[in-house]
Symmetry: C2
Amino acid sequence: MATEQVPPIADEMPTPVPDAAAPDRVEDDAVHADDRGYRQPDVDVDALRALLDGRYREVRDLVRTNLAEHAQVLLDEEQMSTADFRERVKDVVVMMAGTGQTGMGFPQEYGGGGDIGASVAAFETLAYGDLSVLVKVGVQFGLFGGAILQLGTKTHHDAHLADLVTGRTMGCFAMTETGHGSNVQALGTVATYDVGAEEFVITTPDDASRKDYIGNAAAHAELAVVFAQLEVAGERHGVHAFVVPIRDGGRVLEGVRIEDCGPKMGLNGVDNGRLWFDGVRVPRTALLNQFAEVTPEGRYLSPIDNPNKRFFTMLGTLVQGRVCVGGAGINAAKVALTIATRSAVRRRQFEAVSPDEEQVLLDYGMHQRRLLPLIARTYALHFAQEVVAAQLHEVFSGPGAGEEGSDEHARRMLESRAAGTKALGTWHATRTIQECREACGGAGYLSENRFAALKADTDVFTTFEGDNHVLLQLVAKGLLTDYAGEFEDMDQLGMARFVAGLAVETVVERTAVHKLVQSVRDLLPGGDTWDQEAGLLDPNYQLAMLRFREEHMIGGVARRLKRGVDQGMDPGAVFSRVQDHVIAAARAHTERLVLEAFIARTASLPDGDLKVALNLLCDLHALTTIEADRAWFMEHGRLSSTRSKAISREVSALCRKVRPLAVDLVDAFGVPEEMLRSPELLAWGE
Amino acid sequence: MATEQVPPIADEMPTPVPDAAAPDRVEDDAVHADDRGYRQPDVDVDALRALLDGRYREVRDLVRTNLAEHAQVLLDEEQMSTADFRERVKDVVVMMAGTGQTGMGFPQEYGGGGDIGASVAAFETLAYGDLSVLVKVGVQFGLFGGAILQLGTKTHHDAHLADLVTGRTMGCFAMTETGHGSNVQALGTVATYDVGAEEFVITTPDDASRKDYIGNAAAHAELAVVFAQLEVAGERHGVHAFVVPIRDGGRVLEGVRIEDCGPKMGLNGVDNGRLWFDGVRVPRTALLNQFAEVTPEGRYLSPIDNPNKRFFTMLGTLVQGRVCVGGAGINAAKVALTIATRSAVRRRQFEAVSPDEEQVLLDYGMHQRRLLPLIARTYALHFAQEVVAAQLHEVFSGPGAGEEGSDEHARRMLESRAAGTKALGTWHATRTIQECREACGGAGYLSENRFAALKADTDVFTTFEGDNHVLLQLVAKGLLTDYAGEFEDMDQLGMARFVAGLAVETVVERTAVHKLVQSVRDLLPGGDTWDQEAGLLDPNYQLAMLRFREEHMIGGVARRLKRGVDQGMDPGAVFSRVQDHVIAAARAHTERLVLEAFIARTASLPDGDLKVALNLLCDLHALTTIEADRAWFMEHGRLSSTRSKAISREVSALCRKVRPLAVDLVDAFGVPEEMLRSPELLAWGE
């Protein structure tokens, strides 16, 4: 497939004579000056795949091998009952654990691999396969195991890590409550310290406080990490985490009630459940005490005085989950694009170029426009994800990692970046899989062609590990306050008041992007011509556009918030009215980070065809991004209507250049053939 | 729920003093002059529902009653095996047929209702329930029954209609082939006339020509209407339809091979299958001979000489299927919006206005922006659908209906309008259901909350009964050629050559929109100020914008096609490059029709609160539509950046005005409570 033959792109046409009847309306999609002398690069698929796999190629290949070995699970998902499929998924997870694949992030003394970066790489790659397996792995090793590792201390590690790394002990992560989806600090579950018994008593006070959507809870978990409001001697200390046994040998323990969440849109191999606790007693040592301790005699101790800060420091240690979900979304999109692209160079529809033969789908301009920018964006997000995964590894593996007092600013930047990338990566998955399904027509609707499961399973990615809209609000808050507060602390009243307390200029100067934008100003002249000085394919121009948008949007949000509050409006109402701008600003910020990552990675390559090919993709991504928001750039005087139209033409021209590379570009993702299924769409063996 | 209490919208603020630091950047989302003196209308839910139900209220209520009675099928879909669920769906369909609901479109002498409009209304309403039932009804009564009715003559009617109307005889519609999805004229199945035996011999020559995705084929159909290339005495006459028995008492007949399409993303209550014919013999009378006949001695006769025209006349009689699917998509969106909107006035998230209580989701600006324009668009599409259904009724029930020679232009306009509305209605369903699922967070992912089935089942609506992109190309072709050719005849080479043969001015003058736009020119002054003369809330302004866009886009496509061909480029290659403009033009055309329908319906109402409320919605829809494409309007000199920003502010302001009406607006859809399920999201009985 890698050397698939395609017909040459249609001949160039001479520059057209302007049409006198409508001189300013004639746009020409066919002629493109840059096409002259253009030589199509040859893509070395293996080299490109090595580049994408990066330093964790070996780990990724281990996962690919495991996926291929257990490929049957993709069929089992269609054919088994839910109960059987849950067992099957559990078995696959335990078998994969046996290869070391799922324990990369745990310390070696407990059977882990001691490499957080490798752990993210392994998880991401798992997204090429059945996503119930992925999510079950995420629940067991990421959420449950991660909480024991990050929030617990040696006692807990010694007690649980070795068994959970092998999958002998299954656990769940009981944070979310029915009535408290995104606002974790408002949880209702209570853990009261009984000084006489030296025990905590865990209680669910009402149905809004039942634990909900908890993966592994309905069937398999023996232990739960339960988040609850800690109460000691009548005083509340905020949310803390406790290790609570909920089953023993499969039997639900007394005081615990478990209900199955029932059938879901997808991920039915994961047993999501609801939990209620009716005065369940656990020993004092059940408190995961990395950040707080209750002494036997009932004294509450914590190295972090501020309860808010303490809570969000705890939450912050769980950032790896978001990094992983973002990466999984991006990789699920790769599966869909591989199938849709390969199928689009096989399927023919209508006579177009020749009266005797129908035209291959990917030679249609519209089909190129539908798929190729999505491939480009997938590459962009891949490199952005690489950056955030590397930062995660750095922050959690570097000197002093895990200690309170390690570089807080770096942690908040990481949390913000992880949140933004998760939001963009998972929305990209939803959109890409949908477009690929439609591009494959009726065949895309058959389960054997993979889109059914991909769509149903990934749909909740935009919601779990933080609802995307809420995450983007957090990103915006960090930008507005220059990361002054804890990342997760989504107090809208406080944020509006904080911003309102500053002079507008101060707000803008305090924003994290201000310094960056100063350099944009230095780079590009002001006034109406500033955007005409640079070529569309100049990465400095592309970046300057995204940086300008980002700063302008953040400044705009700050001004709006401040003006509303200054004028006596209720801060919450002001926030509500500005909310879409808040989210747009955070999105603009993350888009800039994504483009920067792509440009930087491409720039780092040695000259050659691979660099030429990735530059094409990078240009396609950058200009598609600007094109998508060209209205905003025009409204804000940074794009003339002439140049805006030129960008659309350039995007189409870039699509035509990327077209002959398309199959190589998706093959370089290295999705195992067994994971693609789609026997007829791809016609294996032909 | 209809009188749900909501807090008043936040107080107005005084006009802000322009911010000296950034005078041209200050936009104010809070202050809105029109707000002054605005009195919120009271929506009479029953009256609004009566308005939406229109002249077919009784039929719609019959379907609502039937849906409620068989509500258990929504649960069965989750709990039964595929084989059992298929039987269950079949039984429900037959039971519904017993109430007369599904036979509205058939002549009374065969047990039908003799009312095509009622038949569309019944089908649309069925989309409130399980969509396998809907699609099974569509296959049996719309496609199979419709083909017998429209393509057959009295012999076929007498033989089959009475039994198919009751569901005693189940049938399928075997048109689509694996290798010929959208290009029906290129089908491979052959029907050869054997003059000696006075029989047709039906043969599948290769796997690309197997019938594919055929609903009712895998389990239930006894008869198939098979589309095949007719060959008489060595001469091909194009595609014709034949009634072919494929099962007898459940046993597959000799020469017929049937394969199950296997699990699908959704609609698993419908038994889709593949069919191969190996020299299957049917009598001469098996040819559905409304438009062509083969005499016993092997003479081919048809009142329509041109084979192309004959074929597309046949296809044209099946337009009802598209009208129905468009309506089903719109109504499926209503279910999602009802759940998401009602849930958004119950669920709270984060403290915003008050430090003591979390804010209701729908009071957040972003949540309003996500849901309310979708409600507005649903109303717009509802009224547009009402128009196309009325036209269908008119064309097929009026004098001379069904006869060759009845007003061809009216038929082509109907076919075009049905295609465009189907595309917009089904894309709207996909987008709306997705947004509603995400707006309901994790709860939206549980099957009991309906989105799982809604999403999975409707996903293929954008593909079946004509892929949306292909349909929009057909619409554009009609516009470019002023409906000179048959609607379905998607010969891109011919179309490009046809356009190229005209002078550009001729092309534009020939387009169907030209006359309309002339009136825009008369209405609005030219030059740079034309768009500043009218208020944003003036429907004439809104319509003028959409009409301008439509004409300009069609003219642009014509010029591009013509220039490319004139310059010697391959017509197919020219088409491919212009394809995204072609589709954009068709979309612009249909958007204009939709807005016209909404404005006309609203204008026809007597003064009063209902009219005020629908005017708000209509403004919201119109301005959201312009806002979504504001880049184009700016690029083409029809929107200044100032006015563009004003439109975005107005959309937000309209959202705030619609917010208090939201629950009433969705309640007026009249989705039966049993169809909503979602016990926790909606908290019945609270």
